[in-house]
């Protein structure tokens, strides 16, 4: 038994850290935040050249063929640097949906351009109810066309195509929609985290290519959400690490009453709590990554443990980070709020702590009797 990164995984993580620290310094993040899409074409191309965009997909589609633990290591560093843009939406989310759901022809057609960096993609799942549960998907797919609206679609503004969850004759279906297809319209949904933009996407008699239906669609959607959830908790872990580093550095230099504030126990204990929260998020994330990668029997519960924990931990660590920074922590100029905004958005994405605790309860205690539905 060995719960640690291999030498290659550590190398990958180090090179990710170097790359993203150099490419995404805070001024660059702030510049991108203010743009309409938070996307930088040059950065995307460099990421693709490094192979990041094909990291978890097989070589036959132009990917690196690595596992989810490797992806988590890379995502931890992206979260650490607060990399803006469509990586999460494109690779772990839409990419996995295609990889897990589509037939070989469609995989070649859609996955290869993701790996090469030519295409970006996203998943269109949520509707008016804003439910992450695939059971609640209602948008109709009839005779190969979509009608209706998807909400909270991540980075739709720079996606070349969408993987849309829809209902076709009572069954769940996954369908790919070209961004330029007829009847597609986008409207921004400005939100707390400006590094990852959200959109309402409306389809009006929009043609779509069905890639999976019924059980296959459900499996692929679950797989994509589970993968993306772990990629996200890895990002959250990296973000917490960065917040802790910023906070400890500040506590060592800021002086009050003639001493560094880090000498006051009230401050020190807030920092200690941040470390505890961080380590828990890290342990549960890497375990979930490994369990999913190896198809362990408790893999889905492990994903929910990681997301339930990280959702609260990132926010709680953020609360302390701001508090330790005092008035400085409340300014726009200080970087902590950028992470805090990401923390809130990440807490909500793919289901919050309460959602994942209910998912765990269903696995551990049996389903709750449902009054409705």
């Amino acid at each position: 038994m060995n719960f640690g990164l291999t030498e290659e995984q550590q190398l990958l993580k180090n090179s990710a850290r170097e790359f993203f620290t150099a490419e995404c310094p805070p001024p660059e993040i702030r510049r991108l935040m203010e743009t309409e899409t938070a996307h930088d074409e040059a950065l995307w191309k460099k990421m693709a050249d490094q192979g990041w965009t094909g990291l978890p997909f097989p070589e036959e589609y132009g990917g690196m063929g690595l596992g989810l633990v490797d992806l988590a290591a890379a995502c931890e560093e992206m979260g650490q640097a607060l990399v803006p843009g469509a990586f999460l939406a494109t690779v772990p989310l839409a990419g996995t949906a295609i990889f897990a759901g589509a037939q070989d022809g469609a995989k070649k057609k859609y996955l290869a351009p993701i790996c090469s960096g030519q295409a970006r993609a996203t998943l269109a799942l949520l509707e008016k109810e804003a439910s992450w549960n695939s059971r609640d998907v209602a948008l109709p797919l009839t005779k190969g066309t979509l009608n209706g609206q998807k909400l909270f679609v991540m980075d739709a503004g720079v996606a070349s195509f969408f993987v849309c969850a829809a209902r076709q004759g009572g069954e769940l279906a996954l369908a790919v929609v070209d961004r330029r297809a007829a009847g597609v319209s986008l409207e921004a949904q400005p939100a707390l985290d400006a590094t990852r933009k959200l959109y309402a996407v409306t389809f009006h008699n929009t043609p779509a290519e069905v890639i999976a239906t019924g059980g296959a669609a459900l499996t692929a959607l679950d797989r994509a959400l589970d993968f993306a959830t772990v990629a996200l908790t890895a990002e959250m872990t990296g973000g917490m690490q960065r917040m802790l580093d910023l906070t400890v550095a500040y506590a060592k230099t800021r002086k009050q009453f003639g001493k560094p504030i880090g000498q006051f126990q009230a401050v020190q204990h807030m920092c200690a709590d941040m470390l505890i929260l961080l380590e828990g998020a890290r342990s549960s994330t890497y375990y979930a990554a490994w369990a999913l990668q190896e198809n362990a029997p408790d893999a889905r519960t492990a994903v929910s443990v990681a997301k339930a924990y990280a959702s609260e931990a990132y926010r709680e660590a953020g609360n302390r980070a701001i508090q330790v920074h005092g008035g400085m922590g409340f300014t726009w100029e200080n970087d902590v709020h950028l992470y805090y905004r990401r923390a809130k958005a990440s807490e909500i994405a793919f289901g919050d702590a309460a959602y994942h605790r209910e998912r765990m309860a269903a696995a551990l205690m049996g389903a709750a009797s449902r009054a409705a539905k």
């Binding site: 640690g4 291999t6 802790l244 020190q268 204990h269 505890i276 828990g280 342990s283 209910e358």
Partner: protein, 397 residues
């Protein structure tokens, strides 16, 4: 990263599993009614430890020459987990096995090892830990119990407090001030004292749980041979710290399995108990609370696995032990609260015959866990350690 056991680890696990399934005494209950039966219960645990010893499993991580089997860290972890999984009783000589033995192996002379180690393993000699004093708790280095040199003896005078198993102990690992007038961590010695020697007076201290598991121990002109000093005279602080590191590193191992077993029991109970007119298992609040408990137990287990892997790959047990100490103690308090919420009015019952659940062990644990964040270093002290030694913040005191 590979979380599967290696073939050797699996073989080891199967061996201990088989042994335990053949040997764990049937009908053993974790909690028997305190007071009158405490001594009886202790004798039962002593017999159990002897059985473990005869099976060759006591002190498995100790080198073979001292009666152990030189098990790797990972095997030790597997052993602890299997003991917990089999719901095996704890061993009588907890402090001897976990603290005094390893410290003796590190600091003892050949004669001390020959004299003390085997009776720890076979529970012939029970140990207690005499560190805390009325005016030296968190600030252990403020201790005042003195050992004055008199020829080839030290003469010990002073008082220790909160001494767990003092009433059962044959020996005490005592930290004393051996240089008169010395201050703080200088001038201390770690000395092994015979609890049956003239001048040792053990008095019961009743805990908030009602038991008298710990004691006050008074020393009046107790003569201890100089050869009973462990490590160098005057180097007692370092020897004591070594004991404390063992305490933090090992106390938590296997606990997650015990917590998981308790969790499974709560799930079972949630199907039997009702809440708002339906099975508690279907109540959304209860579902959230139990899933929260499960999350925390998992996080503790996974942190532990990461720490163990790091040490097994050549690291040393360090101040991160404080993270685990905080997790297992604070988690346990929250967990017992959740258990109480699930059981409602029944949770408070301590005895039968009417309505009591699991012989009142939940009511007992609810109180007992308050001690978890005090014993083996308080939560505040652990957070100080993390702040200073892990995060590099200036010392606060």
């Amino acid at each position: 990263m590979d979380l599967n056991l290696t073939p050797q680890e699996t073989e080891f696990r199967n061996e201990i599993r088989d042994w335990l399934s053949a040997n764990v005494p049937a009908g053993w209950k974790a909690r028997q009614d305190a007071e009158e039966s405490m001594r009886k219960r202790f004798e039962f645990l002593r017999e159990w430890q002897r059985k473990v010893f005869a099976g060759g499993w006591a002190g498995i991580s100790w080198p073979a020459e001292y009666g152990g089997r030189g098990a790797t860290l990972m095997e030790q972890v597997i052993f602890n987990e299997e003991m917990a999984r089999a719901a095996a009783p704890p061993m009588a000589n907890t402090l001897g096995l976990a603290l005094v033995g390893p410290t003796t192996i590190t600091y003892g002379t050949p004669a001390q090892k020959a004299r003390f180690l085997k009776p720890i393993l076979n529970a012939d000699e029970i140990w207690c830990q005499g560190f805390s004093e009325p005016n030296a708790g968190s600030d252990l280095a403020a201790l005042r119990t003195e050992a004055r040199r008199d020829g080839d003896h030290f003469v010990v005078n002073g008082q220790k407090v909160w001494t767990s198993y003092g009433w059962a102990a044959d020996w005490c690992a005592l930290v004393v001030r051996s240089e008169p007038g010395s201050e703080k961590h200088k001038g201390l010695s770690y000395i092994l004292v015979d609890m049956h020697a003239p001048g040792v007076d053990v008095r019961p201290l009743r805990q908030m749980t009602g038991e008298t598991e710990f004691n006050e121990v008074f020393f009046q002109d107790v003569r201890v041979p100089v050869e009973n000093v462990l490590g160098k005279v005057g180097d007692g602080w370092n020897v004591a710290i070594s004991t404390l590191m063992h305490e933090r590193a090992t106390l938590g191992a296997g606990l997650h399995i015990i917590y998981k077993r308790w969790f499974d029991r709560l799930v079972e109970l949630s199907h039997e108990l009702t809440r708002n007119g339906r099975p508690a298992a279907e109540d959304p609040v209860i579902r959230q609370r139990l899933a929260q408990a499960y999350t925390e137990i998992e996080v503790m287990r996974l942190n532990q696995m990461r720490i163990i892997s790091r040490i097994a790959n050549g690291g040393t047990p360090g101040p991160e032990g404080s993270i685990q100490k905080l997790l297992w103690s604070e988690l346990n308090q929250r967990f017992q609260q959740i258990a109480m919420e699930l059981m409602g009015a029944y949770g408070q019952l301590t005895k039968g015959p009417v309505g009591v659940i699991d012989e009142g062990q939940w009511a007992y644990q609810f109180l007992r866990t308050r001690g978890n964040t005090i014993e083996a270093g308080t939560s505040e002290v652990q957070r100080n350690i993390i702040g200073h030694f892990v995060l590099g913040l200036p010392k606060s005191y």
